[in-house]
Symmetry: C2
Subunit: 159 residues, 2 copies
């Protein structure tokens, strides 16, 4: 594997991952009603760090392969929606607005998993934990919308 190429994909995930530091969870997140099966707070950075490393590995493997067009398209699509979700949920506090973003992210990750798997077993396998995690995240997002029907987005325009 080309290590510079790995770093390039890792840089892309760093952009998405920076949202975790820039939009901290804080008291507002604590105050939300959450389902009983919500993962503990420490699980999120651990899961995301592992996922970002795995998909950077997958991207670097598949980038040098012929016929990687759709795999690379889905890779780019997933990182855009990944970078978008946290600011909308934790920044704009738009629970409902974060749902369609999560749906797009889930579709992109499913597409990336399938297209990477078609090219390379290890690259495809590296996307599987991500697909599992966004499935949990999507279920959590839906549950939080249902359990917090009175939550309004932050009125950014009036602040």
């Amino acid at each position: 594997m080309d290590i510079l190429l790995f770093c390039l994909f890792l840089a892309a995930t760093f952009g998405a991952g920076a949202t975790g530091a820039l939009f901290p969870t804080g008291e507002w997140y604590k105050s939300l009603n959450k389902p009983s099966w919500t993962p503990p707070n420490w699980a999120f950075p651990v899961a995301w760090t592992s996922i970002y490393l795995l998909i950077s590995f997958a991207g670097a493997r598949v980038a040098v392969m012929e016929g990687n067009a759709y795999a690379m398209g889905f890779w780019a699509m997933q990182i855009a929606f990944n970078a978008l979700w946290t600011p909308v949920f934790f920044g704009a506090r738009n629970l409902k607005g974060s749902l369609p973003i999560m749906v797009c992210l889930w579709i992109a990750v499913l597409g990336a998993t399938i297209t990477h798997l078609q090219l390379d077993f290890w690259a495809g396998l590296a996307f599987v934990p991500y697909l599992a995690w966004v499935t949990v995240a999507a279920a959590l997002n839906i549950a939080m919308v249902r359990l917090n029907p009175d939550q309004k987005p932050l009125p950014l325009q009036n602040l």
Copy 2:
């Protein structure tokens, strides 16, 4: 050009572009001190829509070519930082925090322009307006940090 592939890259830009609707500029942006050469408000959506269409075209052209590894890596990197900038500037209102993101975006767009140009003249050319626009945007970002030294990020944790 594969139209489905074009739509896949366009979907990625849609994720980044959605920030424009989700984090509206509003009164706060109006109240900022801006340099005299700040482009008028209408220019931003026009520029971004054109750029997103152009780079989706470029991505779809280069995705089917051999030796596209670095081009695809830079394509993914630019869209992640593109999606991140607006929420940090207009959501968290973190003027200084948006600067390193703009630097990463500029590097990614420069890298994408060069690597696309090496593979395909038209794909490279399609990235040139983007490179020009992020250069202006970076200069604007620096100017706004300088002209608004007392601006503090939105205290999201205390809201």
